[in-house]
Amino acid sequence: MTLTLENLGLCVQRNWIIRNINIEVQPGECLALLGPSGCGKSTTLRLIAGLDKPSEGSISLFNKDLKGISPVNRKIGMVFQSYALFPHLTVVENLALGLKVRGYSIAEQKRRISYVLELLQIATLRNRKPQEISGGQRQRIALARALLRDPLIYLLDEPMSNLDAQLREDLRPELRKLIISGDKPVIYVTHDQQEAMAISNRIAVLNNGNLEQIGTPQELYLKPQSIFVANFIGRPQINMFEPLDSIRIAVRPEDIYLDPDGIQCKLIYKEWLGQNQLLFFDTPKGTIRMIGDTALDIPSEPRITWKKQKEHHFSTKSGKRIS
């Protein structure tokens, strides 16, 4: 196993920031850490990188316990959420610093830096300072620094969060080519579920410092193990009905369809999404979202229904999936 987090927890001033985290990352895999802001994603990465010490549990890399091993010797290529480029150094100096202290000769430094600068197409920025380049370019420099580290594992902390939506999609294939589809394992932190699904082999969903579910994007989407995951994964959001007999039923908007024998409802409004439309119905069970064809003609008194096997059942008490 490449990376194993076993029962990992961090406690700061009697508060558990994360707890009971069990994750195994396979060789060459890209694992996305997904969760809302403040759920402990960055904290998990910091523990793996050795910047914080876990209060309980263990981390091992290639079957070697990382306890007591300094951050440098863990050989981790990290991209910080803020990029953490040194503002007083030029791009080249930023990249050379680590190589220099790790004992590469000047010629070797030059060769490697030129190589990554070419690879990322940022050679023209060599002598600029970080505040003189754009956000997307900064992100590339941060990636270049991680690449030069020649690490055993990559930890990317929301590497795209400071970029606009267009640029994010443009950079995704590049990121995939350079890092994610390499043979080194990657942990990719994001709070964007679409990005997580697009980029990773498996997703670990964190909530409030707890691991809610870990699995492939399909598993998470088709069989969410808790109410939180069901709500968090999938846009437009799943229809979560009022609890009944300590059971909560949820149905995805695309599983709802018009049916003359269905429940009586009223169309409140619709959002046009391009290839389809999102319809909001007022029903005795509450508001229901439905994805429908744009050509769909909504009658004045529509009736809607869904197939029984498309229902997700959760226990109201534990929030976990039943069956």
């Binding site: 910091r46 990188a49 910047l51 951050p71 440098v72 981790i76 990290m78 910080f80 959420q81 803020s82 953490a84 480029l85 040194f86 503002p87 007083h88 610093l97 680590g98 202290v101 790790r102 620094r145 580290r149």
Partner: protein, 271 residues
């Protein structure tokens, strides 16, 4: 806008007029000073400057003394204050909070109260009449403020930056040398200037620790000049001494202007 301009001009006049007056006095003959409106050929003179530069010891000797003391005190203060403030900025336990409280207390303590006991110290350890020894109280007295200022500067550095350099493999010393110190350069410059100014202007300790005339620092030497005769006050020579004494300061301010200003406004704007 107009009001702003007048205000600035007023403030400039307010703060520069005394300096201008000193400059004017230093080039005037004694007669010209008592009768400001005479227009005689011996209205202007270099006599005041020649007088203080030809005295024994010459005036530039005091300047040199002050410069040695100032630079050395500043160096000692920074060498101790930089590591101290780095570790204070990193720790957040009860001990470091207590230390900060004590530092703030001693930074505000009126040091003049101490000079008698400092005199005792000088006597006991034979530190009198020694330019290197006087740097000890100077740097000790500047230390609290220097540590507080630099601690705040270290705290302002984003945590990510240092952690990124840890992951890159930089040792503590390399981090300070290549990352942290360059980032707090403005604060170091303004702290250094504060320390230097303190020792440049300090009077009571210099007066009591040093009695040999060739070792005097500038403020004491100037006071002696002013009190050298019971019957007259040598205004012209005194003014010339002031002008010469302020030249090094002016030079420092001109050289470090940019750092000082950015140090003063640091933290005013985030980002």
């Amino acid at each position: 806008m107009k009001l702003n301009k007048t205000l600035i001009i007023f403030i400039l006049i307010w703060s520069l007029l005394p300096l201008g007056w000193q400059l004017y006095t230093s080039f005037s003959t004694p007669e010209a000073l008592t009768q400001p409106f005479i227009f005689s050929p011996n209205r202007w003179t270099f006599e005041n400057y020649l007088q203080i530069l030809n005295s024994n010891p010459p005036f530039w000797k005091y300047l040199l003394n002050s410069l040695i003391v100032g630079l050395l005190s500043t160096a000692i203060t920074l060498i101790i204050a930089v590591p101290a403030s780095y570790s204070l900025s990193k720790s957040n336990n009860r001990f470091s909070k207590l230390s900060k409280l004590f530092l703030a207390g001693s930074a505000m303590f009126p040091y003049v109260i101490l000079f008698l006991s400092l005199l005792e110290v000088a006597r006991k350890f034979n530190l009198g009449n020694n330019l290197l020894a006087i740097c000890i109280p100077y740097s000790a007295l500047s230390m609290p403020l220097a540590i507080l200022l630099l601690t705040a500067a270290f705290k302002d550095i984003p945590k990510d930056l240092e952690e990124a350099s840890v992951l890159e493999g930089l040792t503590l010393f390399q981090r300070l040398r290549w990352i942290l110190l360059p980032l707090i350069k403005p604060s170091i410059a303004s702290t250094a200037i504060l320390v230097f100014l303190f020792s440049w202007n300090e009077y009571p300790i210099a007066l009591t620790w040093i009695s040999k005339s060739e070792l005097l620092t500038l403020p004491v030497a100037m006071a002696r000049l002013a009190g050298s005769s019971v019957y007259e006050v040598p205004y012209g020579a005194y003014a010339a001494a002031t002008v010469i004494g302020s030249i090094p300061l002016l030079m420092i301010v001109l050289i470090f202007q940019r750092q000082i200003v950015s140090g003063l406004t640091q933290g005013a704007v985030k980002g």
